[in-house]
């Protein structure tokens, strides 16, 4: 804890505060060095990870946001956002989106991303208590309540769809229960149970900076392309908060690296771990971009090349090399996978959507064409034939579902569907720990497991839990009842409740228009 001198010394007349000193007086000068308890007692969690901080005052506040300015900006932004939400709801705006099945993307978002905002809200509060330095504490405090804003504005944005469409209604409990949501949940649980510095690299740096354009932003772009005005407006409204969070993430890694050379190898391992951990969560985004959108934005491959290979590997990592940080381990596997990821994941979800809170369907002709263009090396050769087979089965009245439960990776918890770079037939890796056998989806997850086997063996793996009878009972209907699924939440899109309603509601509107037009002709 340090204090910055904010005034003159000696007998000369005091100087008026500059903007910078004034900001400092309103923030970090509030801090003091405790003397009735020790610093170790006051901040008991900032030593056990091995990170060494010599001077907390070196943390740079890039924003100089004071509390009154924060309230003013945020209140103004919310006023605008909620007026859009209200107008959209009042005008039955949900009928103007591209198609009901677009909302599958938003069901994934509300179930899989909104709870992450909430988790970030709680744990940035932990940093706002537990960091020794007032600079990062205040930055974390702002982020903590921003994250609450995001969780709430997302819920309020999607609340209107919940009134008319399936799959949204039990989002909060689903996060704790539904099998595929254990992928984002275990990611955040992993971060929240780590120490305060690892959390900062996991969420502040990896999630909010390194991968944010692949994790969060694709949903907002999807909304904009598919006529989802409220979500798009939310996305724009969150933009200035997100840019603060991104700056915090970058400041965080630089701060840790500059404080002590011994921090470099620790941070490198966290970058390696959290890149791969985060990248595996993007599997859900990849399939959303390529398969769930009636009007696609860009392919996963294109997004990955632009936002990760160009901006991060080409832009960020050369800067970090100055500190001795190398591009993340296993990145070459991720690059190779960009031609495969979305296809294998959507195929898996297609097979298991009987147990998900969204629906899936075989791509139509136009969609096949788009996918073939986007993936010239793999789509027609490997993946289209599989869809053709599923379509045939569907036409014969035998819609394909996998008759059983998938094997999940012990670390990322994604079903083990990923082909390996050097051997496309290999989709399974294994490890042993204290006489037990563990299944892993990739070299990346195997490496993460073997770094901390004592942690990852604790994982609440949904499939194991189902098989152990801990999820409502031994049969699939028992499990779906435990998920509180309703008719229309899951399975095939074509002929689903949402699909039928969509047609019915649009017929209603068009009939009215037709009658008016006819009446006009007669006159």
């Amino acid at each position: 804890m340090t204090t910055e001198a904010t005034t003159n010394t000696g007998g000369k007349p005091a100087k008026k505060l500059t903007m910078k000193k004034r900001y400092s007086a309103l923030t970090r000068d509030l801090d003091w060095k405790p003397s009735y308890v020790t610093e170790e007692q006051m901040f008991p969690h900032t030593t056990y990870e091995g990170i060494k901080i010599h001077d907390w005052s070196k943390w740079d506040d890039p924003f100089r946001l004071t509390v009154d300015a924060y309230y003013r900006y945020q209140a103004e932004k919310d006023k605008r956002l909620y007026s859009v939400l209200d107008g959209f709801a009042q005008g039955q705006g949900h009928l103007t989106i591209s198609e009901a099945r677009y909302l599958n993307a938003m069901k994934v978002f509300l179930g899989g991303v909104t709870p992450l905002e909430y988790a970030a809200h709680r744990h940035f509060a932990y940093l706002a208590r537990h960091y020794n330095g007032p600079g990062p504490r205040f930055a974390a405090l702002c982020q903590s309540i921003d994250e609450m804003r995001h969780a709430q504005t997302e819920i309020h944005t999607l609340s209107n769809y919940n009134k008319y469409y399936s799959g949204f209604h039990n989002f909060s409990e689903s996060f704790d229960r539904v099998w595929y949501l254990s992928v984002p949940k275990s990611y955040f649980d992993d971060a929240l149970t780590a120490g305060p510095f690892e959390f900062l690299i996991a969420i502040g740096f990896s999630f909010e900076y390194l991968l944010t354009n692949l994790l969060f932003v694709p949903f907002m772009s999807a909304a904009s392309f598919n006529g989802d005005l409220p979500t798009m407006t939310f996305g724009f409204s969150a933009q200035s908060d997100e840019s603060r969070h991104m700056t915090l993430g970058l400041e965080a890694i630089k701060f840790l690296l500059e404080q002590d050379e011994d921090n470099v190898p620790i941070v490198q391992e966290w970058v390696d771990k959290w890149f791969w951990r985060g990248y595996r969560v993007t599997a859900i985004i990849a399939q959303m971009l390529d398969y769930m959108l009636p009007r696609p934005v860009m392919s996963w491959k294109e997004a990955f090349e632009l936002y990760f290979e160009e901006q991060m590997l080409g832009g960020l990592f050369p800067d970090l090399a100055y500190y001795g940080i190398k591009p993340p381990r296993h990145v070459e596997q991720a690059i190779w996978e960009k031609d495969h990821l979305s296809h294998v994941v959507y195929e898996t979800l297609y097979n298991f959507s009987f147990a998900a809170n969204f629906t899936t369907t075989v791509p139509d002709e136009e969609h096949h064409k788009w996918l073939a263009q986007q993936y010239p090396d793999t789509y027609e050769k490997t993946y289209k034939p599989r869809w053709d087979k599923y379509e045939e089965l569907d036409k014969a009245g035998k819609r394909q579902y996998f008759p059983g439960l998938p094997q999940l990776c012990q670390v990322c918890q994604v079903p083990m569907c990923f082909p390996a770079h050097d051997d496309e037939t290999q989709t399974q890796f294994h490890s042993e720990f204290e006489g037990e056998h563990y299944n892993l989806c990739s070299e990346g997850c195997k490496w993460i497991f073997e770094r901390e086997p004592g942690k990852y063996r604790q994982a609440w793996l949904p499939v194991h839990q189902i098989l152990a009878g801990n999820c409502g009972g031994p049969t699939v209907p028992d499990v779906l009842a435990w998920y509180k699924f309703q008719e229309g939440d899951n399975g095939e899109y074509v002929g689903s409740v949402d699909h039928k309603h969509w047609i019915e509601w649009h017929d209603q509107i068009e009939d009215v228009a037709g009658e008016t037009a006819d009446a006009g002709k007669e006159a």
């Binding site: 005034t7 309103l26 509030l30 056990y48 039955q92 208590r129 909060s172 704790d176 149970t193 604790q458």
Partner: protein, 342 residues
């Protein structure tokens, strides 16, 4: 007479989310409810926290105080993010207008010297106390159980750094846009005898293991400080030609009255809980008997310094003693067994 706008009506399939309907019925829910209730995960956590390996990530056992239905507690103010920031934006704007008026009319220049010293040595040091309160409530936000309560703690923590900034701005204005007054205030916080018991109190509260003990503990000091700084000194200031103090402090007094609402609701929930009421009352009584005497001694020392500066007829110590008595009565009404002042 009103005009009739024809609109297309599509009947909704449901009115709200399952967990809201389960608690409040399937009818249109408020934004507070949908944005608050049930957001905290409850089960199937994956890993144990490295900083508390014996606990879950969210665990009722981070405190000995318990509620049979943790989501049954709600913020009586109904604050979710938007009304919260909207209300506080207005509060800070109101404060800014008062401060501008004080500055423009040079009211500090017309304030008696004794009062300037009171502000420098008594009020300004509490910016550090408020900053400690931010940390305290941030810790409570992370480790308390239930999303409605965590949300109250989150906004409280932000309120407290906001208060610290309001008080700092008074100090900057009093120092004629320099840091002189803040520096003297900080010296008082670190070294002056009359501020040490309060600093000791907040430092010790920050290392309390149980977040609920920290929250109840700081409240005793808050009650007495409010009685001294927001109520009593404000009254004396008006009679003493220190109108600037009154104009500025009213904004903190308004905040204090409002913040009591959620705390009092929490106390009521704790003490009247069907399952845990008796044990909560026991814990709460122990907290009161441990921290209230320390808070009283700490704030009395500060009041004594104010009396020293303003003259004994300023009656600050007596005001704090009266407030301590009132606090004991209020706590007794909740069912607590609170020992008499020593």
């Amino acid at each position: 007479m009103q005009y009739e706008l024809k609109t297309q009506v599509i009947e909704p399939t449901r009115h709200t989310f399952d967990h809201i309907a389960a608690r409040y019925g399937d009818r249109p829910a408020t934004r507070y409810q949908e944005g608050t209730i049930g957001l905290q995960p409850k089960e199937n956590f994956h890993y144990r926290p490295s900083y508390a390996p014996e606990r879950e990530m969210y665990d009722v056992n981070y405190s000995a105080y318990k509620l049979a239905d943790p989501e049954g507690f709600v913020d009586p103010r109904g604050y979710y993010y938007t009304p919260y920031v909207t209300n506080r934006s207005e509060m800070h704007e109101g404060f800014g207008a008062s401060l501008e008026y004080v500055t423009k009319r040079e009211l500090f220049g017309r304030t008696p010297d004794a009062w300037k010293t009171v502000m420098t040595e008594v009020l300004i040091p509490t910016r550090h106390y408020e900053s400690g309160a931010q940390m305290l409530f941030s810790g409570a936000c992370r480790f308390c159980y239930g999303s409605a309560l965590a949300q109250c703690c989150a906004y409280e923590s932000f309120d407290r750094v906001g208060n610290a900034q309001l008080i700092s701005r008074i100090g900057i204005a009093l120092g004629d846009q320099t840091a002189t007054v803040l520096r003297e205030g900080k010296r008082a916080w670190m070294e002056a005898e009359h501020m040490q018991p309060l600093r000791k109190l907040i430092e010790e509260l920050l290392i309390e293991e149980d977040w609920a003990d920290s929250v109840t503990g700081i409240d005793y000091a808050d009650r007495l400080l409010s009685a001294l700084l927001h109520k009593h000194l404000e009254e004396v200031a008006i009679n003493n030609g220190a109108g600037a103090y009154s104009l500025l402090i009213q904004h903190l007094d308004g905040w204090y009255a409002e913040h009591r609402k959620w705390l009092d609701a929490l106390y009521k929930a704790w003490t009247s809980d069907e399952t845990h009421g008796a044990s909560n009352i026991e814990l709460f009584s122990a907290s009161a008997n441990k921290w209230l005497p320390q808070a009283e001694a700490a704030v009395r020392d500060i009041a004594a310094r104010a009396d020293e500066l303003l003259g004994a007829d300023a009656g600050c110590v007596a005001a704090v003693e009266a407030a301590a008595l009132e606090t004991r009565e209020a706590l007794s009404k909740l069912g607590l067994t609170v020992e008499e002042a020593r």
